[in-house]
Each structure stands twice: as structure tokens, then as C-alpha cells.
Amino acid sequence: MIETINMLIGLLIYPGLAFSLLVGGIFYWLYRKVRARLQARIGPPWYQYFMDLIKLFSKESIIPYSTRGAVMVLAPIFSLTSLILAAVMMPVGSRSIFGFDEDLIVTLYLLAIPGLAMIIAGNVSESPYGAVGSSREASIMVGYELPYALSALTVGFYLRSLSISTIVRYQIEAGPFFMKYPLATVAFLMCLLPKMGRRPFDAPEADTEIIGGPLTEYSGLLLGIFEVTNGLKWFVIPAFTVNLFFGGGANPIEFLLKCLGIVLFLSVLDIIHPRYRIDQGFRYFFKWILPLALIDFVRSLIWP
């Protein structure tokens, strides 16, 4: 009985849906506020993201006549579910509620599902903008998933373990991993930009070229679920980065402060760049980021 209640609290409140959504919403607001202030504007108030969610959930969701409505409804549900599971497995501070021994690989897979959901959503919505957006999302995923996975596995291979909690505990004793594998850290940080949909690699959602990209035909409740996914991403992905490379944090306060640093870094990089074309972005990843990840990966295999 206590076990079930504990599990439900962990799944829904801390560090499950409610906590991740709240922290993710605050981080998203911080990104927008820093962006506004650096562009000489004032920026939205702190409750803007939550008000947007309430507004989206109260509107009607229109499904185009000629599409497969079932797939269109399932795509956002898949992406939301995978992110909630990833959030629940992530160690916050140094304890993790649902962590187990192989959760590095499982988290990598779960965090790739939102991108796939976008590809499916773009294709099934029968609009030319959706088709172009989903093909762009597919190309950029090919570009960044490889260095992303290689950098994450670098750390795992060094410790001969695939459990994030073990990685965090090791870093609390021996120092964070970005000192040991700086190239993998840089490669991983650059891969975060297209994963979160930030410039200079946000070509799949370029609003001046293809209106909404894969999400053009979504509205109302379904778009609201995609927005919840976006907010959760702003918590889970910096948390993953901090756990792998930046020490993890002995208590939740230190952990959240380090996540804040990652969020600020992403914001500043987003502001000072225009948008790369999709072929230029793809070439960038293969030319500059993949070699960095490969060098550190080979280093971790050879020199234990």
C-alpha cells in the first residue's frame, strides 16, 4: 500500500509530471526572459507558459478530413509518455526514484522518441508544410543523434557501467566529467541545440519558411500536449546533461542551479545566431561535431 502510494507520488508529483513541468516551465520562461532582455525588450511574466497551456487545452482540436486521425492523436501521446518516463528515471540531487542498472541506454532511446513523433506528425497531417518539416526533422536527427549517443556512451564506457546513478555518484567523489572529456562535453552541448529546437539548427520549425513545420495542422488539445512535451524537455535534457558531465549535484538545490547554467548557455547561443539551412546544418554536424565525439569515444575505449 505504502509502496503504491510512494510510486504514485513519484510518478505524478516529485520528480514526475508536476515537478518536471513546473521546473521546465520556469526554465522555459527564463529562456524567453533572457532572450527578451538581450534583445532590448521586456519579456513575458513568469506565468506565461502555464497560461498558454490553459488556453490551448480549452480550444477545439481540428483534425483534417483526409488524414488518419488515430495516428494524429497517438503521436503527441507517445512523445509525452516517453518524456514522463525519462523524467521519472532521472536522478535529481543524487537520489533517483525509479533508476535501475541500464537506464542510460533506455533514457537515450526515450529521449529520441519526441523527434520521431514529430516526424510522424508532420507526415500524417497531409499538408505540404508538414511534409517538408518532417523530412527536415529526419535529416537533422540523423545528423545529431550519432554524436549525442557517442558522447553519452563515452562516459558509460569509462566507468564500465550503464547506470546514471553510478555516474553521478562517481562524479560527486572524483570530480565532474567535463574536465576529463572536454571534447565530448562540447559535442554533447552542441547536439542539445537541434534537440530542443533552438537556433542555429531549428530548421524543422522555421516559421518564416514553412509556417509551423510538422505541427502546422495541430491545434487545441493535441497542440497543448506537444507544448507540455516542450516544457518537459526544458527540464529533462539539461538534467541529463548535468548528470552526465557536470557533476550531478549532491542535493536538489545545487542540481537545479547547474541546470540553470545549461539553460542560460542554450539561450545565449540561440540569440546570437541566425538559422542555418538544413543542408548546411547537416554538414556542420558531420564535419565538426562527429569528429570531436569520435575522438573522445576512442579515448575512453583505449585508456580506461
Binding site: 534583445q39 542555429p200 519558411e209 509556417i211 540569440i271 541566425p274 542555418y276
Partner: protein, 384 residues
């Protein structure tokens, strides 16, 4: 197998409504079609029912960005028809307002161009500097758009010494900004990857399509109505006409950047040499029967007005040929062969103003005949 990707009538890349139908194959554009007509308001017909003086305020509203250009060209054409000459001070004030609006229009274009390639930060900074140009205009004319500074025979407001001091302060700020924009454009590698070598319009093609303005000057054609056919105070002012040979989006950007610097120079000379005297001439005869023809260098190219009078206070026919009508012909040749991601910036680089473009033309492909409908014929068709 090509899909059709419509750009417009509602699209974030367009500032006004037009329909550009692109046929794409993957990410590459292989063909297209271009349709206008969404912003037709019947201004030329309405102008025949209002007096010459009221039409000054009507023609300002043809375009949202180049207001005083239309008003100045119309006023000069009417003055040519009536045979009166405005005083020198009025000509200088017209030039100052004209060039201040050119600064405002080019800074707006820079902001929009940066937004099309995703560089929102530069967009915000350029529109912040644009406020200085708008404050110059607000102090001289009283409004930020649709100024109404012209009247037949001169201008309606004068420039006091206090306003001259304000203009000088703002011009210093604008000069610093223009230098900063130049540096931002040059030192940014991602920007260069997006605009260099994109949307090339070769010189012969530009001459064949008869493009005007910065679109032509970016492809190597050296034409500028301010120098070739001077009007207002331009015969007494010394300025250069920038020409680039590249023909791509970067050349057009550099042409507009240098035109900004030249505008600041022109305003400085005009304010320094402002002659004393009245600002409007006192006598206004009725126009004689005849025709008149006037042209100015608008922000997007050469603007031409034709006016025909039958001796009354109402014009018989006013015809407006805006530069966007000819510049829009060059969109499709430039876009075919490029990727979808480049279409917004190529479209923005010719600075299209679709509100100025609309004329209704009917093409009958079965009989190979082309006919333009006037408003009365359209009204007859609707049965009213």
C-alpha cells in the same frame, strides 16, 4: 513528382497578401506561379472623384511604407500641370522628409530581412534604431506615417531651429548605427552562408526584365532618377549612387546599406543649406487641359505618375506605375533552382510591396489575348 507548396496569401514570410505557388521536389524549387490581386482597392478610380487637393491625402495611402514618395510625386506632377513652381525652401523640406523616410524604409527592410533568416536579435536592434528616424519625421510632420506634409505649391509645415537641432542629434545616432550594421553584416559567418551566392539575378536578365531600384543596382545596372532626372532639391546636393556587381542577395543588402549612409549625408547638406523664404506659394490657378508626367526615385525604384486634366478641379485620369510592379517579375526567375529555405530571403531582398502592385489583368489562354479590366467594367459584371 512535385508537390505544390503555397507561399501565401497567409504566410509569415509575407508582409502583405500575395500568392506564390511553388512546385517543389524535395527541398528544391522546380517551378512556380505568381498571383496578385488581394490588395486591390480601386484608388485610381476614386481619384477621379476627388479634387486635386484631396487626392494628395488619398495617394499617400497607396503604400504603407512609402507614403511621402507617392505624395511628392503626385504633387510635382500637379504642379507641372498647373505650371507653378514651389519656393526653394519647400523643395528642401520635401527632400529632407523624403530622405528621412528612405532611412526608415531601409531600416525596416533590414529588420524584415534578418527575421526571414531567423536572426531575430538583429531584427530587434534595427527596429530600435528606426525609432530615431521616425522621431525626426514626427517632429517635422506631426505623424509617423501618412505625413501629409505636401500641399500643391509647397509644404504645410516649417522647420524651426529647434527642430534642426533635434535632426542633427538623431542623424549622429543614425550614423553610428549604420556603421554598426555594416560590421554585423561583415563579421557573421552564418549570415554570410545564408545570403552569399543566393538568388542571383545576372545583369542581362535584369535588363531584360526591366527591374529598377536597389534590385537593379545590385546587379550592376547604374540607374537612379535622383541623378538622371533631378527634382526637388537634388540638383544642388552632392551624393553618390552605390552600385554592386554581384547580383545576389548580399549585393542588394550592401546597396541598401550604402544608400542609408548617403541619405544621412543628403539630409545633413539639406539642413545646412536651407534657404529662407516662404514654404508655400500663394497663388493656385486651375489646371489647364493637358497631360503631365512625373517621376521620383522611391525606396524600391522609379515611381512614375501620369495625370490628365480636362480643365475642371477633378482629374480625369491618374495612372500610377509603382516600382514593385516591375520588380515582382523577377521573383520567379530568381527562385527556380534554389531551395525552399532560400525563398523567403530572396523574396524579401527585392523589397516587394504588394499593396502597390495590384492591377487587374485577364489572360485568355485560349484566344491568346490579354485585357485589363477597369473598375466600371467590373461593376457592370456584378450587375449593379
Amino acid at each position: 513528382m512535385s508537390t505544390v507548396l503555397p507561399i501565401g496569401p497567409f504566410h509569415p514570410a509575407l508582409k502583405e497578401a500575395a500568392f506564390i505557388k511553388l512546385e517543389v521536389d524535395g527541398e528544391k524549387v522546380v517551378g512556380g506561379d505568381f498571383k496578385v490581386g488581394y490588395m486591390h482597392r480601386g484608388i485610381e478610380e476614386l481619384a477621379t472623384r476627388k479634387t486635386y487637393h484631396s487626392n494628395i491625402f488619398l495617394f499617400e495611402r497607396v503604400c504603407g511604407i512609402c507614403n511621402t514618395v507617392h505624395s511628392t510625386c503626385y504633387t510635382q506632377t500637379v504642379e507641372a500641370l498647373m505650371g507653378i513652381e514651389p519656393p526653394e525652401r519647400a523643395k528642401y523640406i520635401r527632400t529632407i522628409v523624403f530622405e528621412a523616410e528612405r532611412i526608415q524604409s531601409h531600416l525596416l527592410w533590414f529588420g524584415v530581412g534578418m527575421h526571414e533568416i531567423g536572426y531575430d536579435t538583429a531584427y530587434m536592434y534595427m527596429w530600435r534604431e528606426r525609432e530615431h528616424a521616425l522621431e525626426i519625421l514626427e517632429s517635422i510632420c506631426g505623424k509617423r506615417v501618412n505625413f501629409g506634409i505636401n500641399t500643391i505649391g509647397g509644404v504645410r509645415r516649417d522647420i524651426t531651429p529647434e527642430k534642426e537641432r533635434l535632426i542633427k542629434t538623431k542623424l549622429d545616432i543614425l550614423e553610428r548605427t549604420i556603421g554598426k550594421i555594416g560590421k554585423i553584416l561583415v563579421e557573421d559567418k552564418v549570415l554570410e552562408a545564408r545570403v552569399k551566392g543566393v538568388g542571383i539575378l545576372p545583369k542581362e536578365e535584369a535588363r531584360r526584365l526591366c527591374v529598377v531600384g536597389p534590385t537593379a543596382r545590385g546587379s550592376g545596372l547604374n540607374m537612379d532618377t535622383r541623378r538622371d532626372d533631378p527634382y526637388a532639391a537634388y540638383p544642388n546636393i552632392d551624393f553618390e549612387v552605390p552600385v554592386e556587381e554581384g547580383g545576389d542577395v548580399l549585393s542588394r543588402t550592401l546597396v541598401r546599406l550604402r544608400e542609408l549612409a548617403q541619405s544621412v549625408k543628403i539630409i545633413r547638406q539639406a539642413t545646412a543649406n536651407l534657404p529662407k523664404g516662404p514654404v508655400a506659394s500663394e497663388s493656385l490657378p486651375l489646371p489647364t487641359v493637358g497631360e503631365a508626367f512625373g517621376r521620383v526615385e522611391a525606396h524600391r525604384g522609379e515611381l512614375v505618375y501620369y495625370l490628365r486634366s480636362n480643365g475642371t478641379n477633378f482629374p480625369e485620369r491618374v495612372k500610377v506605375r509603382t516600382p514593385s510592379v516591375v520588380n515582382n517579375n523577377s521573383i520567379l526567375p530568381m527562385v527556380v533552382g534554389e531551395t525552399i529555405a532560400d525563398v523567403p530571403i530572396i523574396l524579401a531582398s527585392i523589397d516587394p510591396c504588394f499593396a502597390c502592385t495590384d492591377r487587374v489583368t485577364v489572360l485568355d489562354t485560349r484566344k491568346n489575348v490579354e485585357k485589363t479590366f477597369t473598375l466600371s467594367e467590373l461593376r457592370g459584371r456584378r450587375g449593379r
